[in-house]
Symmetry: C2
Subunit: 161 residues, 2 copies
Amino acid sequence: MTAIGFDRHDHTKCVTNTLVGAERYCIENKLKFTPIRRRSLEILLAEHRALGAYDLLAILAREGLGTAPPVAYRALDFLTSAGFAHKIEGLNAYIACAHLGADHAPAFLICTSCKAVAEAEADTTRHHLGEVARATGFTIRRTVIEALGLCPKCQPEAPCA
Amino acid sequence: MTAIGFDRHDHTKCVTNTLVGAERYCIENKLKFTPIRRRSLEILLAEHRALGAYDLLAILAREGLGTAPPVAYRALDFLTSAGFAHKIEGLNAYIACAHLGADHAPAFLICTSCKAVAEAEADTTRHHLGEVARATGFTIRRTVIEALGLCPKCQPEAPCA
DNA sequence: TTGCTAAGTGTTATGCTATAACATATCAAC
DNA sequence: GTTGATATGTTATAGCATAACACTTAGCAA
């Protein structure tokens, strides 16, 4: 398992790959990757950090792409539906998907200090929850798996570098 | 593992046990189990369903126990801090703890149709997330593990009884 | 071309969720 | 009975999200 987010990595590649992948996915599935949607994904991709809908809106507004809340929420709905972004329920915030293409149950490690987010795959967890669900007759639509705490950089003994 | 919530069980016992347990815990830890706090827990315990803060407030208001939002949020803060209740992040709602006393990482199966909630223990999941956390140097404070979907009663082919 | 349809966008208004801030009350310890 | 800590009452406001409706654009068919 890999957890993209806290480790060093080639972020330019990370951004490009996701944008290219999203573009291809949209063509294949006849979805419209409009300027607002594309720019919203770019903004979320800029850092591995969770962004509130109104934070996103503020940036879009600065760039003349829309001023009212629905603009941001529509873009976020599109991105999350398509699997290009995820909502972090524990923060009421959004983040670009770090494993685009995988049909996945994402799990997140969320730093409550600097809001950095690492995305991991949650297969094991999913199986575990799946067992309980089967036993009780429950049908799972979506899983929310989040660990809130402190990232390596924000540990008490080693303050943010 | 058990998942309290969807199965038939002696709910009167379930309520009484939790209230008695909460009372004992408060005495042992010198916490004040005031009328508002006690009544709030009773209200959450009434059903294995998630209740919004304002739903709780409406009931408290009807009974003359407070009218402004902070009343409900303070009670909920107390109950969740003490481990008597949990917040369901996926619904922005609250539910009484079904495993009082256990130092636990709860996992929830949440019916998006009728809002029934089953609480299970998430030891396996916790271990799994713990592994990833250790590998990346992340310190976990709290885990949110929720599966959203349909409960046995709300399955498409068998509408709510 | 024209017109139809579906999807996307612009905008206003509103509702739900949560907390800040400050005044008042209660209670236990000294 | 004063002090200090905790709980409660109250007003106001901040933050998150969506309903509803008008307008526009793109694609397709007659």
